[in-house]
Amino acid sequence: MIANQSRALRRKAASWLFTSACLVATVIALTALLLILWSLVTQGVSAINLEIFTNDTPGAASQYVGGLRNAILGSIMMCGVAMLIAIGVGILAGTWLAEIGGNTPYGHAVRFLNDVLLSVPSILVGLFIYQLLVVPMNGFSGWAGAIALAILATPIVARTTEDILNLQPNSLREAGMALGASQFVTIRRVIWKAAGAGLLTGGLLGFARISGETAPLLLTSLNNQFLPEEWWNMLSGPTASVPVVMYNFALSPDDVWIKLAWGGALLVAAAVLGINVLGRWLAREKKM
């Protein structure tokens, strides 16, 4: 009897310890993440002012109080071009997997390789585009950067597209066919329309992923202190981007540059968080 009681006590004590350990783990993780957010906000807010949006990045040993204008524009242009490609290719590939050939052996292979591509280290995509575009074109360019970012975003769009289309009820497809519509019209006018918000969420998730990417851009678009005169020339040469400028400036000994790097960090983090929240909000609307 006493042995039984002490055993029950031991089991209770062990369980209590375990519960506390889980609580402690949660507290540790939340503390670390809050500390990072705290530094980001305190260091970043003091760096954000109007000049950061109107001035270009400062050159070496200049007294000019710079900003991030060229980097912000470069990032927007490269991410924009990348998303155009990623949404086009990703939605078509995802549709093929969900509606046409997903159950063939070839479909299984494509799905598996898409998952691999989804988690390939981004710097390897940079190396690939360096070999494919930068070397033959004799120079770093914003176009190369945009293609590298597109390769990173496309698998995400393809994946979410397939998942969302699989959620659409079969009765929609049957209704389209029953009206005598071709498969193309059924998909375009019925399925894609019904899945609209979900498709947009996929695009936003891909956009959030690439807007902070640094490693592939170091090997493809590099950096550029100046903004080309004409905006359509923007991507034809080396192009500045916020993450690459952050990388270069954070490692510099200049306090003003380091401050700009923190400002850039806050901008990028805020953009990514904003896009993610928007994507989630759209996805939730869809479910209801």
Partner: protein, 296 residues
């Protein structure tokens, strides 16, 4: 006439888009293999097994970065795994849902923060703190604590990596625990199990395969992570001699040296890329296989 052509054209275009994904991945492998061939054929097996990385004399051995990559990723996993497991168990088993939901959403949003931000935090906040309060007091002990006390070393890089993969792993673990039918848990408690026994003897074995898969996905992320590590690992080649010595990883070496590399140096860096690809591909393939067999 137009109608009858529409479908085949659409199928063809969609098929091409799907095939493009396959072409990109194969192109990536082929380009790494071709680009690294000059270095691989010149140095042979020594490229993998020598730790002599000397760009000035054009001698390249990648053992240092390979060991640095594996070591920092294993350490990061060792830190992140128990904590991620603790969070997932706490949120799904012990925590009122009203609190669990906001914490879960917050940590998932934090998983999206770009790695360069984690790297900057490591460089400006964590490394100085670590150097002053932990590394300097311990440096007298020598052994695994030996090293220049500047906070830039394998240990701090692993901590930053661990913080980075933590929200991701916690989110996947949480999904796994939520996928367990409630009856399983109720049955465990009905048998008189304590919460500890229910978790370790019933719930964890129930999702074991998926957990191994998720852990390997986290490991794969740590292996290929570039920016968070480059800032803080110290970037020295050669074998790491202690926990607190500076080192390098495959990805950080590529990011650091690519801009000023000569012809053979570039080829050697592409060789590092090929090694990194093969390691991550292996890890990811196993992880995906384990995760997909968990779905029912």
């Amino acid at each position: 006439m137009r109608r009858s052509l529409e479908d085949p054209i659409f199928r063809y275009v969609a098929f091409s888009a799907a095939t493009l994904l396959l072409v990109v991945l194969s192109g990536l492998i082929v380009s790494l293999a071709i680009g690294s061939w000059p270095a691989l054929s010149k140095f042979g097996p020594a490229f993998l097994f020598s730790s002599n990385w000397d760009p000035a004399n054009e001698v390249f051995g990648a053992a240092g970065p390979i060991v640095g990559t594996l070591l920092s990723s294993f350490l990061a996993l060792a830190f992140a795994l128990p904590i991620a497991l603790g969070i997932a168990i706490f949120l799904t088993q012990f925590c009122p849902p009203a609190i669990a939901q906001p914490i879960a959403i917050m940590s998932e949003l934090l998983a999206g923060i770009p790695s360069i931000v984690y790297g900057m935090w490591g460089l400006f906040v964590f490394a100085p703190w670590f150097s002053e309060h932990i590394q300097t007091p311990l440096s007298g002990l020598g052994g695994i604590f030996a090293g220049v006390p500047n906070g830039a070393n394998i240990f701090t890089a692993s901590v930053i990596l661990a913080i980075m993969i933590l929200p991701y792993m916690a989110a996947v673990f949480r999904e796994l625990f939520r996928s367990i039918p409630p009856q399983v848990r109720e049955a465990a408690f009905g048998m008189g199990a304590t919460p500890l026994e229910a978790v370790t003897r019933v719930l964890i074995p129930y999702v074991k395969k998926g957990m191994v898969g998720a852990t390997m996905l986290g490991f794969g992320r740590a292996l290929g992570e570039t920016m968070a590590v480059t800032f803080i690992i110290g970037n020295s080649h050669g074998f790491p001699t202690s926990l607190f010595s500076s080192g390098s990883t495959l990805a950080s070496t590529i990011a650091n040296e690519f801009a000023e590399a000569g012809v053979m140096h570039t080829s050697a860096l592409l060789g590092l890329g090929l090694v990194l690809f093969l390691i991550t591909f292996g890890v990811l393939a196993i992880a995906r296989w384990l995760l997909s067999s968990q779905r029912y």
